[in-house]
Point group: C2
Chain length 229, copies 2
């Protein structure tokens, strides 16, 4: 079966920059390509958009197929379409940024036998296509987003300590923050609920656990409240 058009059409793909956070460092989910071009190289999970499928739905589908990751936060990053970016011909890709709780999502072996694995953003391998540039772009977006919207919580487990949150924001911003000032500001937003629970099995004073109050944020947002860290 083939498909015929009066004018040539670029191929259209989606690619996902999936950020996860673990042990104080940001990670990106990469697959190993099982076919040319760039066979054996690392690349972003992604693939072709189906004809009846919304772009975001395509991103979710490809992610589920290649990495087993589902139910995550997804946001469009933009289109990348320089003519030479794929050696097979003209391929335009719509890139998405995704955030997952590493604690909740064990990365499954990919359905099509290409391994999916987490890589620390500070030490990424060489990547196929223009994926290095796409990730750079995604990191910039993440740094902005983490400060202007409460999306850091998408990367943390449901229960987290203030230090967890601070380490995460520091990783996204790429610079250290003052502990007292950070805690003051975060708590003053009144979006964190302290739980009747503390850390367990730590060789030090156990830290208070918090959860993010989604409902309260939704209400504040409607009233024109502007989140900013």
């Amino acid at each position: 079966m083939t498909y015929t058009y009066d004018y040539p059409r670029p191929a259209l793909t989606v690619d996902c920059v999936v950020f996860g956070y673990d042990e104080g460092a940001l990670h990106v989910l990469l697959i190993e390509r099982g076919a040319p071009p760039f066979e054996g190289a690392h690349a972003l999970p992604g693939g072709f958009v189906d004809m009846e499928e919304d772009l975001e739905a395509a991103a979710r589908r490809e992610l589920a197929e290649e990495t087993g990751v589902t139910r995550l936060y997804l946001e469009q990053l933009g289109a990348f379409g320089a003519p030479g970016r794929d050696p097979r011909g003209r391929v335009v890709t719509i890139a998405y940024v995704a955030l997952v709780k590493l604690s909740d999502h064990a990365v499954r072996a990919a359905t099509d036998a290409r391994a999916a694995a987490w890589h620390p953003v500070e030490a990424l391998p060489a990547l196929a296509f223009d994926h290095t540039a796409i990730i750079a772009c995604a990191r910039t977006r993440l740094a902005e987003a983490v400060r202007s919207r409460p999306i850091g919580f998408e990367l943390l487990p449901k229960k987290f300590t203030l230090t967890d949150l601070q380490r995460l924001v520091e990783a996204a911003l790429g610079r250290p923050l003052d502990k007292r000032n950070f805690r003051k500001k975060v708590l003053s937003l009144d979006l964190l609920v302290p739980l009747d629970e503390v850390e367990r099995n730590v060789p030090r004073r156990a830290a208070q656990l918090f959860r993010f109050d989604r409902r309260r944020y939704a209400r504040l947002e409607q009233d024109g409240f502007q989140f900013r860290l």
Copy 2:
């Protein structure tokens, strides 16, 4: 001549939300469609991406062809690709936001006889496709961008008064600003150069003219300076 592929491909277009500023109000450049679907309706200028052409280049080309506008500021807004957005079939569009100095760019009659004209953003006609939603998205982006980067100057003539600049920022933000505070903040950035010249032929005290110091901004930016209005 036809083109054949093993898998179906969506068509790929670019569309431009071109903002201009005149007489205290933001305007958007719209064309009138000369062919179905939506024949006779207003729409964003745009069209199909050529196979060997960068996405941004496609946007610039379509703009030049349809409206005669060239040499403008252009920034990618994002991809819009919901399956039902074009009645002819699956068409994914990459939207761009463009800013032009209305004073410099008389809008030419379009080459293909479809009229291009400016419409105030506060009173737009019904639009073809999902173009109303795309413009809404572009306005949000513009409001953010005008505050966080010195792009307001792309909309003003080379020589402008502080009141011109304030009216523009107010139009982009959709709310009024205090005159004294605005002037204080803008001048403290040290990016405006007062000229040896004032307004002419105004029935009131003539205002000081300024120009934006691009060079100085480029230098400051390199030193990590963060523009914010």
